[in-house]
């Protein structure tokens, strides 16, 4: 389980304290710092920013970029935008799922990988695309999947 450093949470809250309409930006900062938003962090935001927890959960469950579950050490994004779709992305996703024995949205039990399906990363000319920890792998074929995953421990 990813440890949440509450001092860091406080620091991020501090960037926005007293401002209006900043909840989304604050949650995005937390998300990029920890890759997920923990219940403790939500409680702290609620207390410090005087925003009801229900409102925070409403935002955090609405937007795709926010995760309420801890994620694995590596995040795999498989693009299923239309351009990748017509170039065979569904087969890539199948192969990743098969390889990791998890479905999209899930995390492997050893916390090595979290698999996400995304709708367009905007590099359609290189589709199908998968992104692992921010590194883009373009023009992927199903047989390349295993080699790519092996690079990440």
């Amino acid at each position: 389980m990813a440890e949440i450093d509450m001092r860091k949470v406080d620091e991020i809250i501090g960037r926005y304290k007293g401002e209006e309409g900043v909840l989304i930006q604050l949650l995005l900062d937390l998300q990029s710092e920890f890759n997920w938003i923990s219940p403790e962090a939500i409680a702290r935001i609620s207390e410090q920013m005087r925003i009801p927890k229900s409102q925070i959960y409403r935002i955090a469950t609405f937007y795709k970029a926010m995760s309420l579950k801890p994620v694995g050490r590596h995040i795999i994004q498989v693009c299923l935008g239309t351009a990748c779709q017509v170039r065979g992305a569904p087969k890539i996703l199948d192969r990743v799922e098969e390889n990791l024995k998890i479905k999209e949205g899930a995390t492997t039990s050893d916390m090595r990988f979290t698999l996400k399906r995304v709708n367009c990363l905007g590099c359609c000319a290189m589709g199908p695309v998968i992104v692992v920890d921010g590194t883009y792998h373009g023009k992927i074929t199903p047989s390349m999947v295993e080699d790519i995953l092996e690079q990440y421990e």
Binding site: E20, G21, V22, L23, I24, Q25, L27, L28, R58, I59, F62, Y63, K64, A65, M66, L80, G81, T82, A83, Q85, V86, R87, K91, D94, R95, E98, V118, N119, C120, L121, G122, C123, C124, A125, M126, G127, V129, G134, Y136, H137, G138, T141, P142, S143
Partner: protein
Amino acid sequence: MPRLNSKEDLKALRRKIVAKRDLNKPYITLCSGTACHATGSDAVATAIQEELEKQDLTEEVGLRRTGCHGFCERGPIIIIYPAEICYLNVTPEDVPEIISKTIKGKEIIERLLYTDSSTGERMVHEQDIPFYKYQTRLVFSGNLWVDPTNIEDYIALGGYRGLAKALHEMTPEEVLAEVKSANLRGRGGGGFPAGRKWETTRNAPGEPKYVIVNCDEGDPGAYMDRSIMEGNPHRVLEGLTIAAYAIGASQGFIYVRQEYPLAVSNLAIALEQAKEYGFLGEDILGSGFKFDVVVHRGAGAFVSGESSALMNAIEGKVGEPRPKYIHTSESGVWDKPSNLNNVETYAIVPLILEKGADWFTSIGTEGSKGTKIFSLVGTVNNTGLVEVPMGTTLRDIIYKIGGGIRDGKKFKGVQTGGPSGGIIPEQYLDSPVDFDELTKLGSMMGSGGMIVMDEDTCIVDLARYFVDFLCEESCGKCVPCREGLKRMREILNDIVAGKGKEGDIALLEEIATVMKKASLCALGTTAANPALSTIRYFRDEYEAHITERRCPALVCKALISYYIEPEKCIACLLCAKNCPEDAIEGEKKMIHVIDQSKCIKCGICFDVCPPKAGAVTKISGKPVPPPIPEAARKIERGKGKG
């Protein structure tokens, strides 16, 4: 850099920058948009830097990392000035040779040039390559020369001249009149005249007024806004500031997708520089006009690209649309008059100011003026970003610029307008592309995604894909969209699973009609387009799925079987070794056979079967032939059949 306090200051600065630059000095520009990043532009940049140091050329040769050049298929792209030699697919290993041969020896490296696949001719200059030759790059032109992190590059190209002209030579009313007479229509989807929108916000009661840039670009398959924002953010800032002046706004918002990290960071740098040079903040260029900009990161929700939903998101709320009878131009962010346009729209504005409305209206068609950037992707040979005058035909875009369909396949359709658009079949390829023509064809312009599909795309499966996407992205606020999409998804899932029923098509059409009439926002009213346009043009494919249980494109898993043609099998064992279910029986010199009861239809055998054999095939709509008896499986043909 001291801030600029007048039009003359800007002129003087530009002269200074240009004078400093020696146009005869060798210069390497390297495309560094996201796609090129993905194909290794960083490593190429490092290699160039190191090689220049090694060969002691850092003083004599310049390196500039620019934004996206558009031909993403062949990136990273470098252009060597002053001869403008264009090299494609450059790798770090090529760099030493490029420096020694081309920079020092003025010699061209043939293998890095573009080769025309039909004539075999090699092309040295970017503008000779068919992908570029037929384009008219106005908005996108800056991307070729500008380092997005260096404001002086933009100024050198005449940047911020349009703003200076607006602030010092024109009243806000005159700016508004100019944009109105240019008939600039919004590039984000609806094609609403930008000038009229500006005027409504300007005249609406309430202060302050806001101007907003929509860089949410949620349409899968479209990435032109990202490339402008990444590659030339000052052009957007200039357009936004001009709009703010015309409207009377002092505060702007730029809403950028979190998924576009490079756009976010380049924009942040651009904002800092614009403030430093006096293009933003108090008393811009000494005109007394004051304007500030705040960046909001979008948190990933397709519906947030809808204008009223986006404004909710800016307020920090859930990005759900508001009822449309209240216009956001009158009551938007914090209930104040708010003008929203997309990135490309704002990026055109400086050009209109500088060159005039007459120049702009001389390009394009009767109802759609200027150029449009399309993201030409899918199964076309040359994928990338393409800027053409409005009215260019689909055929010219796909065949002349795009180089036709990959792997000699047959064209099936082109999707325009994103998930809410439609799929246009072959018989309309000669239609000119503009706002009104696409709407007539049952599709729409959208933000300019153009996804080409070949015969291997199943249209019903694709419609299901779009409905599935929209279903996930529907905010759920209004019933027709929320429930309509769910029911459509069920029906389409059934059809692709081979469980389609008679009457399904009519039911899809009925649901679509209700959604079109009764949904709250544009996402809902257009959500039925993918289903409607595919039924309109590809009804036979739907019928084949429903009545014959056949998938003509051989895609839908439930309706196809994989089969090894005994006479073609060369017994190479590749399929058997790769089959994850051990469903293929086979040994050396024995024809392989798929056990249909074990097959999960993953298609791996089909992919790995050597093309010279081509033994694995897909069958749909008819029974799989029985496996050949074991006794007949022995291959007697000796090695290397045929």
